[in-house]
Symmetry: C3
Subunit: 318 residues, 3 copies
């Protein structure tokens, strides 16, 4: 693997899931990263992604240096030909190239503005690092995708599907309410991975107006009736996202889409997933989160093995 | 040792002091932490505790990941059953459980509000991590106690008591002035450790109104007259704290309780301790801090061996 | 080497350049830092200096702990005899001495106020750490100098001078425009190193009013006419700085001193250097930065070997 920006960089999704599970079984078996340096640039705060990526790298023997650039410490310019007499003190052309001098692999985390769809969906920040750093780039979540999360999700589904024989597990990506407009990166990426993996019966369920971009959701069936979507589900992947069409907006939804134990009874004893952090009793009820159905902690734990399999694959290529 | 939240987690205080001194003599003798990860969560800024804990863990071969969550980056919910439609984005139930997936040992630093005594003294933040993380928790100072500091203090007293024979050293915990309301965690913890250690003749001295909580001070004699308290003292542990009874308040005190060289002459050539940071010429005079009597730098240095002994004891148990 | 505060701490500049180039050829050959701890204190934000210093230390096997004290987390008192009843919570006497307990080597980054020349040029912050820490101090840029940058600059000039025979390369330190008042630390330090190195034909060029302090520029010729200064130049070191005489001020300059390809044609095919970050099309044009003439990325990369040679020299001494 050269870069890890989306599932499109993965030639064999199942192979990567298998590799991650080998690492989970023997976390510190390979020191392929010894003497190598991983830089982690966070343009927005992160705890889960930072810690799991750092833990993964340490397991491989890499040294990790974290750069938190949230706040005003590093306002980068991205425009070609800009006369830089304003706020930005450094162009990404230099910033990325310099990081390329210091590290062997670079992780970059950036968020969408949720103001300008074209701008966000162009992924200009991530691609600028790919273009100018000259070293492998790992997305730690970008404006439209979160592939490390999706790989951890695939691992979790795979681990919890062993009892399902002779058919693919039915996986429902289900919209949930929230009080803030959230990025589409997690649902976009989850849809893209489920489609590419091809080992699940994948369905998307959301209120009208919350359609995902077709480049990610592709031909996955969309069910706007929550009760109908729950039927026969083996996994419910719960997540809020803001509207793509009315970009970045929260649209009025009449029914309460929060997942409860009562609704879970409509499923095929489905397991419940969420990328965390989750707002209790808004997105998911206490009773669901504290039931046997919840996989959220295990799923968060699998972030380490996802990152470790990705870093290992990149280092093997280098 | 399973957790390290207070002296109550320590079966043998003198044994732990001895272990710390063995580590001071040979800092990198044991790599018992190799391949283990320590997370350090700071909900409030820290320099001394962070660096000394990190240094201790590195000496043992552990990998350390620091999480500074001060600011608004990680507002946790602690209420049972909360409908999380406000500021808090994650419940401690998930937050702690996820950290438990990533680390082998977790250090947590939290501070009191100094607004609500019952709330602070319940130690809800620290205990929530103990309850939900599923891994050993080390207090890096909590709302009411600072056990790593107190262990370093015991080490320092022990090292400087070698010339005192046939009797216990007389140790006076002495209140000092300050311009801000400060927590009671250091004096509470110091009192608790001195009482549990049982190897010192322990006395508390403060102006009326600054009584400590009896659960920590126990039967230690309290002397409200500073001059009387100084007599025969071998160690003066200087520290400001705000009122417990009139919770979190600074009460008017007529006399100036700042320790000076003149007052020190009343003692048995006492050594002077303070946990730092110390405001010069408010809490302690320049002349005391720069005299032979001051142990404050040595005491701060002993924070490393205190943390190292605690981490080692936890790792041995694991 | 005991401390690294300026070129005056270096007995043999060429020897240090040679040592850095040996490290560039074999980055992880020596683990002289194994078991040693480097503290990096940043009183102002830093990315390049932090990452390159950290990378250098890791190459030598050192453990690194970074302390970002920008913001209000650690307001230090520097005045002798101060009654600390204001904002400062700790005196540098304790702060530095405590850091000296935790680390083997301490890097310190501080910036000038640009308000009070005497104060800035006294380097009180850096010298206080030297006085009170009791361990070797490395300047990570101080109020008036940036010696790690200058060593990286010397390395870069040396590497790119191989084709120049029978004479010294002509190196021009050239002022450039900026929209903010910047420190003089980089030009001061560059001038001091070029003078001490003695292997270059060194010239300074700036508009009138931007004279550098003679203690650093010494007898280096000053040319106020930019075109004249460009003639026969082999290296142009471009950098803005604020006025020393009208301290910290931006003075009106009629001509546009931004370096362009057109101006570069007046030189002896000069290479262009800048310490970065650089504001494009204000300090340097896009066309210069993207031409073969630009050494800025290579120069930033050399920061690692500069720091590594310095740390190694200090560790050998210890």
């Amino acid at each position: 693997m050269k870069n890890f920006l989306s599932v499109n960089d993965v030639s064999d999704v199942q192979g990567l899931v298998d590799e991650a599970l080998r690492m989970k079984a023997h976390p510190q078996n390979s020191k392929i990263g010894a003497g190598k340096k991983l830089g982690l640039i966070f343009m927005n705060p992160s705890l889960r992604t930072r810690v799991s990526s750092q833990a993964a790298a340490l397991n491989l023997g890499m040294e990790v240096i974290v750069l938190n650039t949230s706040g005003d410490s590093w306002q980068l310019e991205f425009e070609e030909g800009a006369i830089m007499n304003g706020k930005s003190a450094e162009h990404v052309k230099e910033a990325a190239a310099v990081m390329g001098q210091y590290f062997d692999v670079l992780g970059v985390r950036t968020f969408p503005s949720l103001q300008n769809r074209e701008d966000d969906y162009s992924e200009k920040v991530l691609y600028a690092f790919v273009k100018y750093a000259g070293i492998p780039i790992v997305s730690l979540e970008s404006a439209t995708l979160h592939p490390l999360q999706s790989l951890a999700d695939a691992i979790t589904i795979y681990e919890n599907s062993v009892s399902i024989n002779n058919r693919n597990p039915r996986v429902v990506l289900m919209w949930a309410p929230h009080i803030k407009p959230l990025p589409q990166s997690v649902p976009n990426s989850f849809a893209q991975w489920m489609n590419a993996w091809g080992k699940v019966d994948f369905v998307i369920s959301h209120p009208q107006g919350y359609e995902l971009d077709k480049q990610f959701s592709q031909n996955a069936p969309v069910i706007n009736d929550q009760e109908e979507a729950l039927k026969d589900a083996d996994f419910i992947y719960v997540k809020n996202w803001s509207s793509v069409n009315d970009y970045g907006k929260i649209l009025p939804v009449e029914e309460n889409w929060m997942l409860t134990n009562k609704k879970l009874k409509l499923t095929n004893k489905a397991k419940v997933m969420h990328c965390l952090p989750v707002r209790r009793n808004l997105v998911l009820s206490d009773e669901v989160l504290e039931s046997e159905a919840s996989l959220v902690i295990e799923e968060a734990g699998n972030r380490v093995w996802a990152a470790q399999a990705v870093l290992s694959s990149i280092l093997k290529n280098g």
